[in-house]
Every structure is written in C-alpha cells, then in structure tokens.
C-alpha cells in the first residue's frame, strides 16, 4: 500500500521520503529532513531537489519562521496519538506564523484525532492504521460538528446565537 497520503478527501501516493540525519541528500526528488538539518542547510536544497521539514514533538516550530514561504511541506510528527504537542505546533505554524503550504500529520495518526488535527490547520495525513484508512474511505470522520471555541482556521462558519464563540464544520 503506497497511496498512504490522505488529502482533500482522497488517498494518493506519498511522494516524499523522510531522510535520516546521517543519510546523504539525494540528487533529485522530494525529501523531508529534520528541523536541525533543514536549518543547517539554510533552508535551501541543491538544484533539482525539493526539501521539506519534519517537526518532531519537542521541536520549536518558531525556528522555521524565516523559511516558511519557501517550504512546500511541513510534516508534524505525532510519536504517539496521545502526545498532543503537534497540535500546538500546527496552530503556531498556521495561525501565528502564517504558513500556507501543505501541513502533514505523520506518525501515530488515528481517526479519532483527525478532526482535531484538521481544526489545528493540518491538511494532509499519512495513514498506516487500517481501521483509520477504512473509516476515511467510507467518509466516517465521526466528529462532533459543532465547535464551542473559535480557532484561527479559515472556513469555519460562525454559528447561531453565540456567533462570537461557536463554529460549525465548514
């Protein structure tokens, strides 16, 4: 199964590889590297290679701030589904620093967490958990479609009697 990337309602192939810090940079293609390595490279890839970044839990997303306009994809790693640091990193990237490229959840990505991830600005998901894949294919997001707090995500519709606070899924 190589079409592991769920984005905009469909599964497609993962075009990105994730490089270990020790591995040599390939001559072409698309590669994601750690935040440290990305910054060492000054955020620029050799001609022919596209470079993305992996934000691991514990990484400070703000270190990327000068490079955001040029990064096509940032992967936020969830080492365990119960480790929620990635949600804050995602919101910081989107809402505080204005990142507009692809924001991808990788790691332990499960169906019950995906609605939260979406609200934090994540828009693509690497899915390896079979029941999660099945649920997405069958369009069973199982989310509570009313939100009781505003976040900075675009497209959420202010709602009803307390439009200041409440939103509905767009």
């Amino acid at each position: 199964m190589s079409d592991t990337i769920y984005r905009n309602g469909i599964f497609s192939a993962n075009e990105w590889i994730i490089l270990d810090d020790e591995a040599d940079l390939p001559g072409d293609g698309k590669a994601m590297v750690s935040l440290d390595r990305f910054l060492e490279l000054g955020g620029t890839a050799p001609e022919g290679l596209e470079l993305g970044v992996v934000i691991r839990a514990g990484d400070k997303a703000e270190r990327l701030v000068d490079h955001l306009a040029a990064v096509p994809v940032i992967a936020v790693d969830f080492p365990k589904f119960s480790d929620g640091r990635g949600y804050s990193s995602a919101r910081l990237l989107r809402e505080k620093f204005g990142y507009r490229g692809e924001l991808r959840a990788i790691g332990d990505v499960l169906i019950d967490q995906i609605p939260f991830m979406i609200r934090c600005g994540i828009d693509s998901f690497e899915i390896t958990h079979a029941p999660t894949r099945r649920a997405l294919e069958e369009d069973r997001l199982n989310e509570v479609p009313i939100y009781l707090q505003p976040v900075g995500r675009e497209g959420e519709v202010p709602l009803g009697t307390r439009p200041w606070a409440r939103r509905r899924v767009a």
Partner: protein
C-alpha cells in the same frame, strides 16, 4: 442557571453519538484498549477494581431538580442504587457496564448533562464556589466565567491530549471556597481601582505526589482577556510540559523546573501574540451568559419567628442552624448545606431516594437550584430562613440532617481500597471510624471548625495535603499505614500540611487523630481560636510530643 440552546443540545447529542461509535469500535476490535482509553477517559469512563466507573459532570456544581432526579434514576437503573459525589463537584457511579454507557449518556443528554472531560489528560470540568450567586461576600458570580471556560475548553482541538489532566477553579469571593490555589489554574475574581472586573491568576497549584500551592502570575487580568490568557498558559504547558514521566507531567512541575519568572515570560509572550484577537471576550457576550445566571425571583422574607421558635423547640435544629447555614446576600434568605457525612457513613454517598428528596426540596423551597460542594456535600443555595425548619424536618426523616458542615466529622475521603485500583490503603473505613469517635453533637461543637481529609494513596484524591489534619494511607510490608499531616489549608491562605512523624497502623490511626485533637483543645486560646489558627501559632511541637513523647 445555564440553559442549553439548540446548538448546545446538538453538541451533546453528537458527542453521545461519537462516543457510542467509539464503544462500538472498541467492542469490534477496531480500537485497542490503549487507543480506546484516552477516548473513554475524555468521557468520564474509568476502569476500576470491580467494574467501570462513570463520572458525570456537574458543571461548576450547579444543577436543578430534574437533573438530580435523573441521577437518581441512573443510580437505580444502572448502578446499585446510589451515587458518590466527589471533590470535583461531580458524581460518580461505581458499577455501570461498558455496553450500557452509551445508553446512560443518552439519558443524561435528555436533561442537558454529560460526562465530557471529567477525566483524561484534558481540561477538566471547571469548578467554582458552591455558594456562587448567593454568598453575601461575593464580588461577582464565578459561574459566568466557569461557563465561558467550559465552552471554550469543550473538545478543544489543541488541548485534548495534554501531558496530564488540567484543572481550573474559580472563586467569586475573597474568601476562597473553591480551593483555587491548589488547581492548575486558579482564578479569583477581583475589581481594579476603576471598578472593572478581572482576575487574580494563580498557576501551578496541585496535590498528588508533589503538592504545591499555585504561584501568582497576574494581579489583575482584565475580563476580556480571560480566554486568550488561559489559552496562552495551556499552549506553553502543552508544548513544554513533561511527557516522559506522568508523575512529573502536571504544570506545577513545569513551573517548578522552569522557574516562575521564565515561565511567566513564556506565557506573556504567547499571550501578546494572540491578545486582542478572536478570543477577546466581548462584554455583551459576558452579559448574555450572566443573564443565564440571574438570581431567581426572590420572595419577600417569611415569618422568621418560625425559625426562632424552631431553635428553641425542635431537637437538633439549633445545631443545624448554627453549622449548616451560610449568609445570603438577599434579606430573609440563607444557603443551606445538606451534609452527605452522616456519622459512620461513607463520605459523599447518596442513595437514589435521598437524591429525590433533595430534588423535591429544591423545587418546593429552593428555587429549583442544587449545588454540589467540593467538600462532598450538597447545597440548597437559596432558601427562605422561615422555610428552614420545614426543610430540616424532611432532611431528618431521610438521614440528611447531620449538623456537621465544617466540623470534625465533615470528612473528605477518596474511595480508597474499597473501589480504587490504585489504592494502597482503605480510606472510607478510616473516615467512618473517625466520624464515630467524634460523632456526638457536644464533642463536635467543642472542637469547632476542623477539616480532616483522607487519601488512600499518594495521588491525593482526598486532598489530604490541605486538610487541617491530613491522613494518607500507604502500604508498608503488606500492611496499611497512615501518615498524618498537620496545618494544611485550601482557602485564600493555602498551605500544604507537614508530616508530623512516623505513621500509624489502621488500628492506631483513630487514636492518633484523637490525640491531635485533644492536644489542640488543651493549647487553644479559647474557643475562638480554631485548630488551624492554633497550629499556625504554636507549630507542630506540642502535637509531636503528644503523639510520640519526648525524643
């Protein structure tokens, strides 16, 4: 009190449907227990010694008669006929079956109740002063802000997988009845020199293994910034709180390890970035919510000669009137504490029948309002003084008239070995024995205000660290041992109790408590000086000597 509108209703129903689907997938094997656990915890469902335990939210401890009757119904139909009111102003049922929980939640939803965020590593049910909206000394009703925080924190997309649980408490009066300084965030309503409403903010309080009193991070946070500032605290905690060791994962450890000043700077930086944005609380929104909590239509004071006569003639009433009533801001009214601490009983337990009695009383005499206090009692916040004798009479018929609010037998105890999988010792039976030892009205009255709190293990659910006398059950070589701490307190002058010396066996512990109490009676400067004041004046030495002799 707060009423759902169509969207709140849709929200809770959708949450029930979502959880039902999660239970279904768990039973079908699509979710492992490990994956299911945080989901069920976020819906108040624990796996305990004998069965699952369901914790139902009573937001800021406020409910009405219909809701209380529903709890009674659930106790009867799905449990063994009783429920257990907790120090978090919630109610726990100790015997529900997993496959029945969706049905229970549907029943709760019918009366605008739920179990959302009563456990798990998320922002828990926000707690508030149980005399809110009634107390004579109140600056503003804390439930308005508790409700705003409840909405903001419900299924928060960023903060549902925190390093650890997160508790917020809020008090509206200078006399803190909500123990705000031992919560992750404690808010104390205040007014600045211009008469504007805002909050004194404490961060990093908590009990458990490493008890700490919260540190003040703001002398005055303007009302409009409440959510933005809270979100800033949570973001810093979510990113930097420790996740390698669950005993070091609360925000109190982050405060301790990072240092207050640095952490404060982190919070302020995050706050600056979002202040004035989407989380700014509009004044008209506060007013809207406030309208939900408008006082009931108070009646004209009744004939208080009835009250005065009952003091003279009705057996036990004078004690009850002295101990279980709290000054009300409305002339002719009082707030009435219904003790769930009958002498020799399990603290916080109420039978289905008792719940129904309280519901009836609330409807007949209490403007349909009931509160759960964090001291595991119930409160009728608005009762005409002239009606108190009638209420007392009914309470008495149902074993609910114990006149011990705030006294030595008003003990807080966690479930301990009787129900809890983590317990290292019994706590309920210790509470029962202490209660029996000091149970006569004369003895209780002689001793005066005294808070005893008991936990069955180091997790401190019974708040022993902040008991004037705290008792912690531990296990030593296969036997239960009880450590005694003295001088704890959870009010506006919070302090963590100090361990007085080696522990006592299950058999000895009640005698030890009595020794402490007798020592106090001997050294106090008259009846006016309560236990805590006396302890703070003399320190632990005389207690130590009485317990262990001169060493």
């Amino acid at each position: 009190m707060y009423r759902y509108d169509e969207f709140d209703r849709e929200f809770v129903l959708a949450r029930v449907a979502q959880f039902s689907d999660q239970v279904r997938r768990r039973l079908a094997g699509d979710l492992t227990e490990e994956q299911f656990k945080p989901l069920r915890l976020m819906n108040g469902l624990y796996l305990q010694l004998h069965a699952y335990m369901l914790r139902v939210a009573v937001p800021y401890g406020t409910m009405n008669a219909v809701q209380m009757r529903k709890l009674a119904h659930i106790a009867r139909k799905y449990d063994r006929g009783y429920g257990h009111f907790t120090t978090r102003q919630n109610i726990q049922f100790n015997w529900p079956r997993l496959d029945e929980t969706p049905e229970i939640l549907s029943e709760l939803a019918e009366v605008e109740m739920h179990a959302i965020q009563t456990s798990g590593n998320c922002i828990r049910n926000v707690t508030a002063d149980h005399f809110a909206g009634a107390a004579a000394d109140e600056i503003a009703d804390p439930r308005v802000y508790a409700e705003i925080l409840r909405q903001w924190s419900s299924l928060h997309p960023e903060f549902s997988f925190l390093p650890r649980k997160f508790k917020i408490a809020i008090t509206g009066a200078p006399h803190d009845r909500a123990a705000v300084q031992v919560h992750d965030i404690g808010l104390q309503l205040a007014r600045n020199e211009n008469g504007e409403t805002g909050f004194i903010v404490y961060v990093g309080g908590g009990l458990g293994r490493t008890p700490m009193v919260g540190r003040k991070v703001r002398d005055f946070l303007p009302e409009a910034d409440l959510l933005a500032y809270t979100e800033a605290i949570l973001r810093v905690y979510n990113l930097y709180g420790r996740r390698d060791n669950k005993y070091k994962a609360r925000i109190k450890i982050l405060v301790h390890e990072t240092g207050l000043e640095e952490l404060k700077a982190d919070i302020e930086r995050e706050f600056e970035a979002i202040r004035g944005g989407i989380l700014t609380l509009p004044k008209d929104e506060v007013d809207r919510i406030e309208a939900y909590f408008a006082a009931p239509a108070f009646k004209v004071p009744g004939d208080e000669r009835l009250f005065d006569a009952a003091i003279e003639t009705m057996p036990g009433f004078a004690d009850f009137a002295r101990q279980n009533l709290n000054a009300h801001r409305q002339p002719g009214y009082t707030s009435l504490t219904i003790s769930l601490k009958p002498i020799g009983g399990a603290p916080g337990d109420a039978s289905a029948e008792q719940m129904e009695v309280v519901a009836d009383l609330a409807e007949k005499y209490g403007h349909n309002e009931i509160r759960v206090s964090h001291e595991q009692n119930l409160v009728l916040p608005h009762v005409l003084k002239s009606d108190v004798p009638a209420v007392y009479q009914v309470l008495k018929e149902h074993g609910l008239a114990e006149a011990n609010a705030g006294l030595v037998t008003d003990i807080i105890a966690c479930p301990g070995m009787d129900y809890c999988a983590l317990a290292t010792a019994r706590s309920i039976p210790v509470a029962q024995r202490i209660s029996e030892r000091f149970g006569t009205p004369e003895r209780q009255k002689e001793i005066g205000d005294l808070k005893i709190k008991i936990s069955g293990c180091i997790n401190a659910c019974g708040h022993h660290h902040v008991g004037h006398i705290g008792i912690l059950g531990v296990e030593k070589k296969g036997k239960e041992f009880y450590q005694i701490t003295l001088g704890g307190s959870a009010d506006e002058k919070s302090s963590i109790g100090e361990i007085v010396g080696r522990g006592f066996s299950y058999e000895e512990v009640v005698d030890a408590v009595e020794t402490v109490v007798d020592t106090y009676l001997n050294i106090r400067n008259g009846e006016e000086e309560d236990f805590l004041q006396a302890y703070r004046r003399v320190g632990e030495a005389p207690f130590k000597e009485a317990l262990y002799g001169t060493q």
